[in-house]
Symmetry: C2
Subunit: 508 residues, 2 copies
C-alpha cells in the first residue's frame, strides 16, 4: 500500500488514545464488566497510560486507582464508562471539566428501556463540553493498529480477548450489536480472519454508522468494511446513502441487516430501541454496492475472502465459477448450490478438456474433464495446484475457482496400530516428499492468482487444525470448512466485482 | 429401547461379517486405497479375521497374505475389492467359487465412464453365484455396532479413520458419494454426531438406496436415516416411495439431493453416471415426510439434533419457536432467519412476561421480557437453565427453544497478565461455584426436556473446545457454533413433527 495521509476524522483520535481512564472496573472478573474490559485492555498490550477511577479501591488489577478524574496527573484522551446509569451525568460533567473529549459509554438502560429523558441529559452535557461519545448501551472498541507514540499496539476494550492467532488485520466492523464486535473473535481463528477496528456503536446517540463509515474510508489499515445494521436513524438516511455511494467503489461494504423481517424488527426494538427501518434506505444501499448477507457465517466468510483478495486486486469481473474437486459428492453439492445462487458453471472448451484429461489418472471420474473437474484420488500436487488451474486460467473461461479437498497430514488420524505404521520411515519419507511438492505447488498457485487476478477458495473438511490449511492461509488463500461456505462467499465477491464492472471502476 | 428382533435383511449379514478378505491392499499408504482401507479396518478394531489377498506379498500391515481366495482356510463372509477393473471379473468368479456371498466393490471405471458392457459382465457373474454387492465405484462401509461372535466392534472399510471422539451412534447414512460416508467424519466431533452405519453405494448396480432404507428400517441401532441422493434408478421409483411412506413415520429420513438443479444434474452425471432424475419421484418423497436439506451443514446439523431428540421423543407439534439469549445481536439474527424460514416467534402472554421480568437484572434489555428473551449479562445459571425455561414450558407457548450464549471457562482466554489474574484463588473459587450451579442447572433442564417434550438447542461461538459445550452434549443437548445452524435444524425438526402431527402418529 502506498504511503497515505493520517486520517483527520475525529474517530481516529478516539481509537488511538495516548492515555485512557476507565470508570466502573473492580476486580470481580466474573460479574463486573468493567473488570473484564480493563483486563482485556491490559492483557492485549495497550501501551498508553491506563487510569482506573474507583471511589474506594487503591489499585485495580495492579494499576494505581484514582478517586475521581480530577485527581489524574494528566488529561486522558479517552474515558470508558461502565457505571450505573444514575451517576453517568455527574461523571460526564467531571470528564468535561477535566477536558477529555472522547468517551465510550458502555452503560445501558437508555432509549432501549424507554428512557428518553436520560438520553437528552447526557446529550446536553456532552454538547456543552464538546465530547464525542460512542454508546450508550455499547460494548467497546478494538483497534489492532493503535498508535501510541511511535509504537503500534492493540487497544481492546471489549469483553473478549483478542487472543492468538487473532492478529492485526484489515477488516473493520461497525455494529449495533456488541456481540458482533467481540464474541465473533471466537469464530475468526478457524477462518483466518483478522480485524483492524471494531466499534460497538450501541444506541448511537452521538456517533453512528455513518461516522464509522466516514472514518473507515480514511483509515489506511481498513480494506474491508463490515456493518451490522438494525436501523439507520431518522435524519441520517441521506448521509448514509451518500457515504455508501462514495465508499463502496473504493472499499467493499458487507452488511448484515436484521430489521427487514417482522420478527427481526421486533427483536431489534427491544435490543437497541431502534424503530423499524425505512426500507427505501436499505434498498438504495444495496443498489449502491453494499453486499447484503443473511447470516453471521456468510458475513464473516465473505469478510475473510474479501480481506485476502482486495489487497491483491483479484476481483472477478463476472460470475463464471470453476470447481476443481478430488471428490464427486462435494463437487455436485457445490454445483447445485452455485446454480441456486445464480452463478454460472460454464462447460469447458474441448481443447481445455483434452489438456486436463491428459493429466488425470485412469481412476479419475471426470471423463469429460469439464466443469466441475473431478479427479478423485489424484495426489499429484503439481497437477492439482499448478497444471490444472494454469490451463483453466489461461483460457479465461472462469472468473473464480473453488478447490475442494486439499488434505494434509491430519487426514491420517489413527489409534495405536495405525500410528505405528504411519510413523514408519517409508510413510514419513513419502509424506515429506508430498509436502515439498505441495509447498512449491501452492507458491506457484499464489503467483498465478496475482498474475491472472482470479480468486481461488479452498474447501477442507478438516479445518484449521490441518497443516495444509495453515499453509494455504499463510500463502494468502481463503480456506473454508464446507463447500457451501466457499460458494456463498464467492457469490458475494462476484456480485461486488460485477457491481464495479458496471461502473467501470476498481478499488485503488 | 425395548428388546427388538435381529434384522433378517441380507445387508445385516454384509455389515456384520465374522471374517473378511481384501483384494488390492499393499503397504503404500499414500497412494494405495486398499492400504488405507485395510489400515482403517485394523486400526478401528474389527474383531473378525482379516485376510489380505496379494499375488506377491507375504504379509500386509502385519497380517499374513494369501495369493488367492481359494487358499484361505475358511470361506470369508465378506470380500472387499480395490483392484483394477480388468481383473474384477476373474476375482468375482474366484469369490463365487469359494462361496463368499457379500462383496464391497470399490473399483471404479464402469458406468460413470460409459462402460456398460463391463457392468453387465459383473452382474452376470454375481447373479450366477448369488453374490450381493455394494458398488462399483464406491468407497466402503462403516458399522460401529458390528457384532463378531458376542462382541461389538467397529468395522470401518472407508478412507477415513473413525477416530475419537467419534463413537458408536444411532445415525445411519446411505450415500451415492463416498465423501459423505467417510470424510464427513472430520466434521462430526464438533457437533457430537455419531454414526451407526454408513454405506457408500457408488453406482448401486446391485444394492441401492431402497435396499439400505429397508435395512435401516429393521436395524435397532438406527434412529435417524441420512440419504445423499443423486438419482433413483429407473424402475426403483415406486419401491423408493413405498419404503419412504412406510419408514418416515417411524424413523426420520433426512435427504440431501443434488440432482434437482441443472448444474447439479450435470455434476452428478460425471460422478456416478446417473441420468437426470425424475422430479416426480423426489416431490412424492418430500410429500411423504422426507426432510429435504440444501447443504452438507444442514444435513449433519439436522442429523445431530434428530439423533438426540428422537430417542427421548422430544418432537415438536408445531412451529412456535422461543429464543432465549444473553445477547441482543444474535437474538435478532436468529429471529430474522426464523422468520424467513416460516417459523413463528410468538409474543409471550403478559403473565409469563411478568414472571420472566422478575428474574432479569436491571441491565437486561428485554424490557418486555417477551420472545426473544434477551437477558444480557445475566450469569445466574438458575435463571438461565431452570427458571426461565420452566416458566415458558409450563405455559405451552412454544414448540421448541433456542438458547444463545452459554459460555464456559474458555470464554476467558488471556495472555500472561490476564492468566495470572484469572488463575487467582478468588476467580477460580467463583468459577468453581458457577460450574456447580451450571451443572445442576443443566441436569434440571435435561429432566425438563424429557417431561415437557420440548426440544432445546444451544448456540455457543466457542464451539466444542469450551467445557460447557461438552457438558451440554453429555447431557443430551445439541450445541451449534452459530445461530443460523440452530434455527435451520429446529426448522427441519418442526417440519418433521408437523408431518407426524398431521398423520396423528409418533415414532415408536
Amino acid at each position: 500500500m502506498a504511503e497515505q495521509p493520517e486520517p483527520t476524522h475525529f474517530l481516529h483520535k478516539l481509537l488511538n488514545p495516548q492515555s485512557l481512564c476507565i470508570f466502573g472496573a473492580n476486580e470481580n472478573l466474573l460479574q463486573n464488566m468493567g473488570c473484564q474490559e480493563l483486563l482485556n485492555i491490559i492483557d492485549n498490550g495497550y501501551k498508553g497510560k491506563v487510569y482506573p477511577i474507583h471511589p474506594r479501591l487503591e489499585t485495580v488489577l495492579g494499576l494505581k486507582a484514582y478517586k475521581t478524574i480530577a485527581e489524574l496527573p494528566e488529561v486522558p484522551d479517552l474515558a470508558i464508562i461502565l457505571l450505573p446509569k444514575r451517576i453517568v451525568p455527574q461523571v460526564l460533567t467531571e470528564i468535561g471539566e477535566k477536558g477529555t473529549k472522547h468517551v465510550v459509554l458502555v452503560t445501558a438502560g437508555f432509549r432501549e428501556t424507554n428512557n428518553a429523558d436520560a438520553e437528552q441529559e447526557i446529550i446536553d452535557i456532552c454538547d456543552k463540553y464538546g465530547i464525542r461519545f460512542i454508546g450508550p448501551n455499547c460494548l467497546g472498541i478494538i483497534n489492532t493498529h493503535c498508535k501510541v507514540g511511535d509504537e503500534e499496539c492493540i487497544l481492546n476494550s471489549t469483553w473478549v480477548n483478542y487472543f492468538e492467532p487473532n492478529r492485526p488485520g484489515n477488516v473493520s466492523i461497525a455494529s449495533q450489536s456488541g456481540t458482533f464486535v467481540s464474541h465473533v473473535c471466537f469464530l475468526n481463528p478457524e477462518i483466518d480472519l483478522h480485524y483492524s477496528k471494531t466499534i460497538s456503536i450501541g444506541n448511537s446517540l452521538n456517533i453512528d454508522l455513518v461516522d464509522c463509515l466516514d472514518y473507515f474510508e480514511q483509515d489506511t489499515t481498513t480494506d474491508v468494511i463490515l456493518l451490522y445494521i438494525e436501523e439507520i436513524k431518522k435524519g441520517r438516511g441521506r448521509a448514509f446513502i451518500e457515504a455508501i455511494k462514495r465508499i463502496s467503489v473504493k472499499k467493499p461494504i458487507i452488511a448484515l441487516y436484521t430489521g427487514g423481517s417482522e420478527a427481526g424488527a421486533k427483536a431489534v426494538a427491544s435490543h437497541t430501541g431502534s424503530l423499524s427501518g425505512n426500507n427505501n434506505i436499505y434498498n438504495a444501499a444495496f443498489k449502491h454496492g453494499v453486499i447484503r448477507v443473511n447470516t453471521v457465517e456468510e458475513w464473516i466468510d465473505a469478510a475473510v475472502l474479501f480481506s485476502k483478495v482486495i489487497p491483491i486486486k483479484a476481483i472477478p469481473k463476472g460470475n463464471r465459477l470453476g470447481i476443481i474437486s478430488v471428490a464427486g459428492g462435494p463437487a455436485a453439492t457445490a454445483s447445485d448450490q452455485a446454480n441456486r445462487l445464480g452463478l454460472k458453471i460454464p462447460e469447458f472448451p474441448d481443447v481445455l478438456q483434452e489438456k486436463i484429461k491428459s493429466l488425470l489418472p485412469a481412476t479419475a471420474q471426470g471423463v469429460q474433464a469439464s466443469n466441475p473437474v473431478d479427479f478423485t484420488f489424484t495426489i499429484s500436487p503439481r497437477v492439482f495446484y499448478e497444471q490444472v488451474p494454469k490451463y483453466i486460467a489461461k483460457m479465461n473461461v472462469v472468473d473464480g475457482m473453488v478447490f475442494i479437498g486439499a488434505y494434509g497430514r491430519d487426514f491420517f488420524q489413527y489409534h495405536e496400530i495405525g500410528m505405528k505404521f504411519y510413523n514408519s520411515e517409508k510413510v514419513q519419507q513419502g509424506l515429506a516428499m508430498l509436502k515439498e511438492f505441495t509447498e512449491s505447488g501452492i507458491e506457484y498457485l499464489k503467483r498465478m492468482v496475482k498474475k491472472f487476478k482470479i480468486p481461488i477458495i479452498f474447501v477442507n473438511y478438516l479445518g484449521i487444525k490441518d497443516e495444509i490449511v495453515r499453509l494455504l492461509n499463510s500463502n494468502g488463500f481463503t480456506v473454508f470448512r464446507m463447500e457451501h461456505e466457499a460458494v456463498s462467499a464467492m457469490r458475494y465477491l462476484m456480485q461486488y466485482g460485477m457491481f464495479l464492472e458496471k461502473l467501470n471502476t476498481r478499488p485503488n
